[in-house]
Symmetry: C2
Subunit: 299 residues, 2 copies
C-alpha cells in the first residue's frame, strides 16, 4: 500500500474510534461532551495514535488490543492543547485554523473539557482492561502500557516539559534546557504510543531498545521541524501564524543553532531514526516512510 493511503487508513481508524468513544449524551452536562468533541474531532495528523497502530502492525499484534491506548494518547494530547491555549498559558485564539475551545465555550468549560479528556483517557484504557476479554498476561502487559502512558503525561514527562517551557519564556536558555523541554513536552508523548504498543504486542528487549531509539529520534526531529516551520512555514497551511516563536521571544532550535545547522540536525536525527529500525526489513517500511514524511511536511 502507498504511504499516503496507509496513513489515511490508520488515521481514519483512529477517527472512527475516537468518534465512537465520545458520545454526546443528552444529559444535563451535555455541553462538556460537545466541547470535548469539538476539540478531539478537530483533525490534525493523528501522529501519536498512528504511530501506535503502525508499531502494532510491524510487530504483527492485534490492532483491537492497541486501539484504546492509541486513542487514549490522542485524548491526552488534545487535553494538553486545550489547556495550553488558555489565556493564562499561551493565550491562543486559533488552533488548526479553528477557534480554540475557550473562545467557543468559555474558559471554565475549556478547563473542564481538558480535565475530562485526561480523565476519559484512563476510563477507556481501564474499560478495556476490565472488559473480561483479556487473559492474565494481557492484563499485566496492558497495565504496564497504561503506566508508561501515565508517566509520559505527568510531571516527569509532558507536564514537566510545559512547566520548564513556561518558566523559560523571555529568557536565554541553554541547549540542554531546550532539549529537556522538548524531550519532556513533546517527546514523551510521541514515545509513549510507540512503547505502549510495543509493550502490548509482546516486544522483546531488543525490539524495545530499537523502538526506543526510533521514538526518541523522531520526537526530537518533530520538534526541530516545528521550529524550522515557524520560520519558513506558510501561516495558512499551518493554521497558525508563522514567526510566532520569534514574536514571543521563544528559544527554539533555530534561534539557538541557526536555520542551516537546524536543518542539518533534522536530517541527521531522521537518518538515525531510520537506521534504528531497518533490521525489521520490509515490515518497517511504513515507519521509515513516516520519518521522511515528518521531515518534509509543510505544516
Amino acid at each position: 500500500m502507498k504511504f499516503e493511503d496507509k496513513m489515511k487508513l490508520l488515521s481514519e481508524t483512529v477517527n472512527v474510534a475516537l468518534d465512537r468513544y465520545i458520545v454526546e449524551k443528552e444529559t444535563p452536562e451535555k455541553i462538556i461532551y460537545q466541547a470535548i468533541k469539538y476539540s478531539i474531532m478537530a483533525g490534525g495528523k493523528r501522529l501519536r495514535p498512528v504511530l501506535a497502530l503502525a508499531v502494532c502492525e510491524m510487530l504483527e499484534g492485534n490492532v483491537a488490543d492497541v486501539l484504546p491506548y492509541a486513542c487514549a494518547i490522542e485524548m491526552i494530547h488534545t487535553y494538553s492543547l486545550i489547556h495550553d491555549d488558555l489565556p493564562a498559558m499561551d493565550n491562543d485564539d486559533y488552533r488548526r485554523g479553528r477557534l480554540t475551545s475557550h473562545k467557543i465555550y468559555g474558559e471554565a468549560i475549556a478547563i473542564l473539557a481538558g480535565d475530562a479528556l485526561l480523565n476519559y483517557s484512563f476510563e477507556i484504557m481501564l474499560s478495556d482492561i476490565a472488559s473480561g476479554n483479556n487473559n492474565q498476561v494481557d492484563i499485566l502487559r496492558k497495565v504496564n502500557a497504561m503506566k508508561l502512558i501515565a508517566n509520559s503525561a505527568g510531571t516527569n514527562g509532558m507536564i514537566g516539559g510545559q512547566v520548564v517551557d513556561l518558566q523559560s519564556e523571555e529568557k536565554q536558555i541553554s541547549s540542554e534546557t531546550l532539549e529537556y523541554i522538548h524531550r519532556c513536552k513533546t517527546g514523551a508523548l510521541i514515545k509513549a504510543p510507540i512503547m505502549a504498543a510495543a509493550t502490548i504486542c509482546k516486544a522483546d528487549e531488543k525490539v524495545l531498545k530499537a523502538l526506543e531509539k526510533y521514538a526518541e529520534n523522531i520526537g526530537l526531529a518533530f520538534q526541530v521541524k516545528d521550529d524550522i516551520l515557524d520560520v519558513e512555514g506558510n501561516s495558512q497551511k499551518m493554521g497558525k501564524k508563522a514567526g510566532s516563536d520569534a514574536d514571543n521571544n521563544k528559544a527554539t532550535f533555530v534561534t539557538l543553532y541557526g536555520l542551516e545547522k537546524s536543518k542539518e540536525m533534522l536530517k541527521n536525527i531522521t537518518e538515525e531514526a531510520v537506521r534504528s529500525i531497518e533490521f525489521f526489513g520490509e515490515k518497517s517500511e511504513f515507519l521509515i516512510e513516516l520519518c521522511e514524511y515528518l521531515l518534509k511536511r509543510d505544516h
Copy 2:
C-alpha cells in the same frame, strides 16, 4: 479507641503517605512539585481517604492494599479544588484560610498543578498494580477499583456535576437538578473511596449494596450540611466567608427547602446512612460515629 483518636490516626496515616508520594524533586520543573505539595498538604479533614481506610478496617482488609487508592482519591479531590478556585471558575482567593494555588503560583502553574495531580493519582494506582506484589485476583480487583474511581471523577461524576453547577449559576433550578449536581459533584467522590476499598477488600454483593447506600446517604448529608453551614456557620472556623452562596445567588438545599426542612432532611439522611451498616455490629462503630461527626461539624 475513641472516635477522635481514630479519626486522627487514620488522617495522619493519609498525611504521611501523601507527603511521601509527593517528593519535591530538584529538577527544572521543581515549582510544580512545590505547587502540588502546597495544595495537597493544606490539611482538611481527609474525609475521602479516611472513609476508604475505615471501610478497609471494617472488612478486615489490608490497609497497605487500600492506601494508594485512598491517596489517589484525595489527589483527585485536591486537583478539583485547585481548578474550581481559578478565576475562570469560582475565582476564590482563599481556601481553608490560605491563599489559593493561583494566588501564590499564578494561573498557569495552578492549572498545571491540577492536571499533574489528576495524572499523578493514576500513576500511583498503576505503580501499585504493576509492583509485582499482587496475585492475579488482586490485580483484577484493583483494576476495577481504579476504574470505579476514574468513572467517579469524570463526566459521569465529579466533572459532570461541576459543569451543571456552572451552568446553573444565577438560575432558578429544580430540586432534581440540585440533587443531580450534588450526587455528581461531591457525592461521586465520597462514594468512590467507600466502593473502591470494598472492591479491593473482597466485599460480597450484600456488603457492596449496604455500603453503597451508606455512601450515597453520607454524600448527600455532607452537602446538605455544607449548605446549612453556609448560612449558620462561622467564617473563621470554615476558612471561607459564610453566606457566600447567597451572595452568589447559588441554589442550595437551604434556598430550596428552607433552613428547618434542610436540618430535618440532614437528620433523616444521616439516620438512613447509619441504618444501612448497623448489621456489621461493633465493627461499624467508627463509620457510624463518622455520620454523627459529619452531622455536628462546624466547618
